[in-house]
Point group: D3
Chain length 334, copies 6
């Protein structure tokens, strides 16, 4: 019985230490991640009661992935196992004008065998209040799409809040379905849209610009097409280079447009998972604060993630609130 449900593939991330390249290294650090589980772990670090549902490998790598989630207090009891290996991704962390590079080994992973029959949604959603999904899951395989859809239908039936982060990644979507159709289908069961004009354009087939006016217009059109959607939250990144970014957020909640100040992230350690930290912050926030403060919380959560290695946001609620209170000087508290 967990209040917050995340569902999606767990990947093993392998990257050389610091900013090294594979060719100059013989050691790799490993973490586990995946956009939905990153959100789940981050919420657990905020003190949330989270269950992650997935299909992982039936070997010591899968065991290690499972224990990684447990370490953060995430409930793993609904995770199923398959005989396929866990998905892996390789990462070289860039710096300054050198971008990070990434290579995936996930297309025949254990998660690709997920089928609706493998998840008991009835049991899994018992006591649940919030369901979070992203566009990665339905992009991976038909079983992912179908399993997710079953979960969403039940979640809505139970009156759960459903947040959607319909990230569109062209490289995936190889099993024959049309991304736009599938995402639209799933958005019918969603109440919070985490994305900006890019994602809306993808789903609606529109061509909105980044302007404030267009963002509002796009949000309105999205809500018209998907009446269950109540609020749209967008994270905006301005990149000086790989090592130096700025983050802010904006929203349209059906009534008002709001936008936060830029947070200046001058010495980035790891950019992976910063969008997931935003989603996690938002989900936590909307359960505790008003819309604007939730968005500020999400933004600060995302900014803090840039200071941690790995996919996961380790920050606590106190640490995020500290930033909302303007304490960004990093003063050591003895």
């Amino acid at each position: 019985m967990s209040q917050i449900i995340t569902f999606g593939e767990i990947l093993m991330r392998l990257s050389p230490q610091g900013n090294k390249k594979f060719i100059q290294s013989n050691l790799l650090e490993f973490y586990f991640g995946g956009t939905e589980v990153n959100v789940g772990i981050s919420i657990a670090n905020f003190g949330g009661d989270v269950k992650h549902i997935s299909c992982i490998s039936n070997d010591f790598v899968g065991d290690t992935a499972k224990s990684y989630l447990q370490k953060f207090g995430v409930d793993t009891s609904a995770i199923v196992r398959s005989n396929r290996p866990l998905g892996v991704y390789f990462l070289e962390v860039g710096a300054v004008m050198r971008p990070s590079t990434i290579s995936y080994n996930r297309s025949h992973s254990s998660f690709s065998e997920i089928q609706p029959s493998m998840v008991n949604w009835e049991t899994s959603l018992e006591g649940g209040k919030w369901f979070h999904w992203t566009g990665i899951t339905p992009a991976l395989c038909k079983g992912g799409y179908e399993t997710l859809k079953e979960g969403l239908i039940l979640a809505r039936k139970k009156g759960m809040t459903v947040s959607a982060d319909p990230t569109y990644r062209k490289g995936l979507w190889k099993y024959g379905e049309d991304a736009k159709d599938v995402l639209s289908d799933l958005l019918n069961y969603s109440t919070i849209f985490i994305g900006g004009v890019n994602e809306i354009n993808e789903v609606l087939g529109t061509n909105y610009s980044y302007s404030e006016e267009d963002f509002i217009e796009a949000s309105k059109q999205l809500m018209q097409k998907f009446p269950s959607i109540e609020k749209v939250f967008d994270k905006i990144r301005t990149a000086v280079n790989s090592s130096w970014n700025k983050i802010r957020a904006r929203m349209w909640n059906g009534k008002e447009f709001r936008e936060t100040q830029d947070l200046d992230i001058t010495h980035i350690i790891d950019r992976i998972g910063t969008g997931d930290a935003f989603a996690a912050g938002l989900i936590y926030g909307l359960q505790h604060f008003d819309d604007y403060k939730s968005m500020e919380f999400a933004s600060a959560s995302s900014a803090l993630k840039h200071t941690y290695e790995g996919d996961v946001n380790f920050s606590s609620v106190d640490e995020v609130m500290n930033i909302l209170e303007g304490n960004i000087s990093g003063r050591l508290n003895r």
Copy 2:
């Protein structure tokens, strides 16, 4: 134009440092290996002129694998690239009564896309004298089998020596062909058989025991069925435990049976690739020594491999000869 040709999958090996388990680690050492390329690199370390043929991923992991072979002077010019990821295997190195454990992620790897059309055997075998293959390649995928067969046919036409290490691994062989049939087909193009009664029983469907008599009998029956085979070399391991083994070898070359003394390996560092080091030693040996000395060389080469981390045998000819001369006290030469 290389004299010695090896053909087979290149895998990335990932294992925690020392004898750690994945669950107690966040760092993995990586090496590249694969039974045939291990043989190739080991021969290159003996000063041999080796070309390895394979299909690897078209990303920075594949680049790193390629550069790994080049590091040892192995010719990589015939390696082709595919859009599938490089195969990976995960390893936990055991100790004492704890066995090592291994988990493969190779079944949809870049090598699984190999097709006869991708290798120009005519060019690749130009100037070649020796072709080495193992039972892993035809077990992986039909394309592996067919591509290998094309190469073997040409190799024999050119009068090259062909060594076969028809290791049978049940976990592979999933694409619909029968192991016994396929291995038999390929043994028709082979001249040196590296294997013992287990492997012969597998191919002949017999049931020979480990006794000297049975080994000779089995070898004779093998040569009868596959007249191209001239010699059979077998490596025998006696294991006290994961950390302490003994190695010896025996042979039937159609005329005489010979057997070496046990080499006592009291403090094993890494057992992976020790069979490949035996094959490499044998291939090098048979080009320079008589049959018995070749087998002794192979045996010492294999014993030395137990003292190196990773899949590769780093020992030089001098280092192996040193052991043949009885210098096993490890005395430091200043």
Copy 3:
């Protein structure tokens, strides 16, 4: 609701990598341990349903300790926090004739503040079947003794099995109580005695030798004094040196004396926690096997622990059973 309850201090262990000394290092590996929690985690690794109860620090070190237990699936919900730091121990791992050395910083640790009022035994023991305690806890502080005693009284009232490992460590026991009195008091609530003639002599004030006869006699006298004790299990270590030991076990269960064969551990990696692995194996065993097989299981579990770094036994039931079946050659299973 967990079936198996362990209670005791959690310590942070800090040791240089491999066999290095502090003076030649600037890096320390850390693990968490403590005799009772080692038992708990080891049983969890066998698939047992374990809750560990303790008092840890209210800082990021305590957080990390807690997440360490969760990683293995141990229930941490009854762990309380104090403002004192977590106990620490420093370890230099010896080799050959060089003994390991250890230095404790635990006497004013967070656990030293434990008080009966801090643990809700009624809730904690709900559904419990087994309670394990050791002589370390009552040795540390009066609060440890009193809290433990409350738990034991309730455990026995509920009919739980209580295993006692009354290890006597002279260096502790500084708060004014007499070890013999306290241990005797607690043994009144115990049913399984894990210890040998040393421990019995300590409690009874006797002077039995290591002989089989004396072991049986001592066990009988122990059971006479503490009628709740039904079985005595003893682990015997023969040390060639720090790197090479042999392990066997013997028992008196009121009816028969049995003794296992020696297990030869030729290349020890870490000796810490091998007694705890014995206890864990025994507790798991007695829930699934007869007395002799339980003792064999415990012995093999202990032997395997010597091959893992850290305090914890990572072996699974399958891995232990594998040894009971005589597979000690460490053969890799591909």
Copy 4:
């Protein structure tokens, strides 16, 4: 016979590599530090003749601490040992808007047993010219206060210069004395005050602001109350965030007010001990330069410390002077 005497607790510092958190690590780097010994080692690195007096643990951790000081040429002959463990602190190094976090395990450390009878001040101060103390020592324990006071009385009798860095840390001061009273008592034996309006307000119970006027006024009032104090030096930090700070200094020497330019520290590696590097630079400076140049030297010394991991300033006099000469471009000298 050393010219410069420092007295205070030596702590072991334990922190994960880089900016990692404990929860994502299993390796800790260790250094030794403590505000007074940091000053001592830094002066030794400038070529000064330093003796540090302390009480450390009588185990291999204490041995390692002692050898750490010897490594830098600090005289350890007056260090005494106790049976309590060495104090420890745990540190997570922050980045950007994430502050570093710290957790102490020092309240029952070996130093907490220090007593006046354990230090032979007569012998220890033989040949001494300068004594440095900080507000940490009298805050830790009564023995620390009393032992320090004995040393200060003798130091002044011998005409030694006494520098005081009366840092006030609320979290300490638990043994019953009032911080203001104790610090005032000790300032009566001091000639150089290293601190700003915060520290003066603490001691005088005043409420001065950071303005130049208030700094001068506060300094004057301080000198009036403690006539032995001749000069006041203040370090001012402006923090962009955890990774980017600016440092400057100002002084009132009874005659004139001076202030240095800001030094811009754009990529901080480690902020711990930067105040101690300032004090060390000042103590070295005042023995070789005029007041203003001493303050500049102290400021550059502190700025350089931000580029070293650990508590210690490794910079030499040449390296500091190089910055005073305006060479801050970091040009490599081949």
Copy 5:
């Protein structure tokens, strides 16, 4: 048969991890470098066909150096061996206002034994199109000068392009020849001059300033004295501090003066070899682009090098072109 020839000493570089100093470390990372081989490897990483000629030690260190070049596909067949050890340099990487420091152990290295008789230039330059040399080689030893000169004479006879990077380093040049005379002698065989007014002043004995006018004037005078020189390319670095530099380039090709924009390198990882990356970029560029674009390519290549540890530029042509197209935001491409 390689198209591009580099000739010079290979050094082993040893530096502590990150920004640590030797005194606080017990681990050193090693790479191989040397100004000319850095250029060679960087061109090989651009896909160039490179042969490096050198004299290295006849031990496992030399073997490792050779395999390091092979890893990048550099032809090592013309490398000769001597019984002297490989040259070594020790490096401490600075940060912010702390400069890196370097210490060489090269004056009696294996390369110092190079003699014209050891290199078969006729064979080595077969098929060659470009020869690159620097002022380090003739500075090291007379044999270096004489061997290089023989190579240059033949290169020019064959019509190869010859690029000269006549870096002048005072600390070298100890074998009795005058730097100005030797460099002038060798410039007579060169067609591309990679250097600025400093280098020109050194060779001509002039005193030009950094102004645009002076740069043009100096270039003209240089070309007058050495009529084979057709183009002059200069890299200009503006250093905020050790961690933050800007890079731009300018040129005089006999017809026009051009200058690139500054590239802002805000978080430098390693500055060693950035000049060599410029030279490599230029050599690659001039074979594929016009003069201005070549200079831009060189500049971006140099900027990217600041983001890699070690001496070598790992960037590919695509990665450099990406920057020329204005993509400096480091956006991750999934």
Copy 6:
């Protein structure tokens, strides 16, 4: 004023971690060593008052070497500096039948510039009681021989005990003097001979065997030729392989022959410096025990050294005595 004087080159040792080879590594551990300084540090670890005299490089590597000695409390005040680099040696640690390999870079090191004028023997030997030298120093360079001889003459004049370890290493001795002559010259000033029949044969030009009789005979003849020599101590190693050796010692003190039991070293970690640990144990022993116990102490000291990484013996007197008392089971003392 130190009681024990050692004189000789300090080398930096560089070796990959564990048993790795250079070609499979990019990290090297470094230590400082050299036969005489190993003896000095080991005696300091026994509590001896030691001064080491040497000539080291005037750079950060030399600084680090100096601080390394200070760490162990060795007096470095008589160490001089030169502009040549510190000597270096590279080591690959073998295992089982694989010998360790070593490569030196010392022939033009800072020590090779030592001259009698650089050492003030009068001051350095003040208060000295024991002088230890080895055959490495006079083998390195004429200045080494001459400087050492001056020291020995004065040492004998002052009545100091002089121990000689006249190890003969053919690879050295390149400056023109005859080893036999030089060693004989220096033995005239020596009182304790640490060596066996190999060393005696080298000096006397004899051909004694390893038999007890021959050892006694050889010792007698040695004492006849060099009447100052009072005692001969020999260490005998029996090697199973690189990982497993046995050590014992024998002596002739002019009156009686004695021989110790073998110490069985089953899991060697590092064999470098084990002879130096023997010498150190002997020197310490002869100052505190009778001849036989000294030899036993030396033997156990040497055996313990096999369990430490690096050149240095870290064992304390208590740890050695523990072995003399028969405690070789490595039992942990809590």
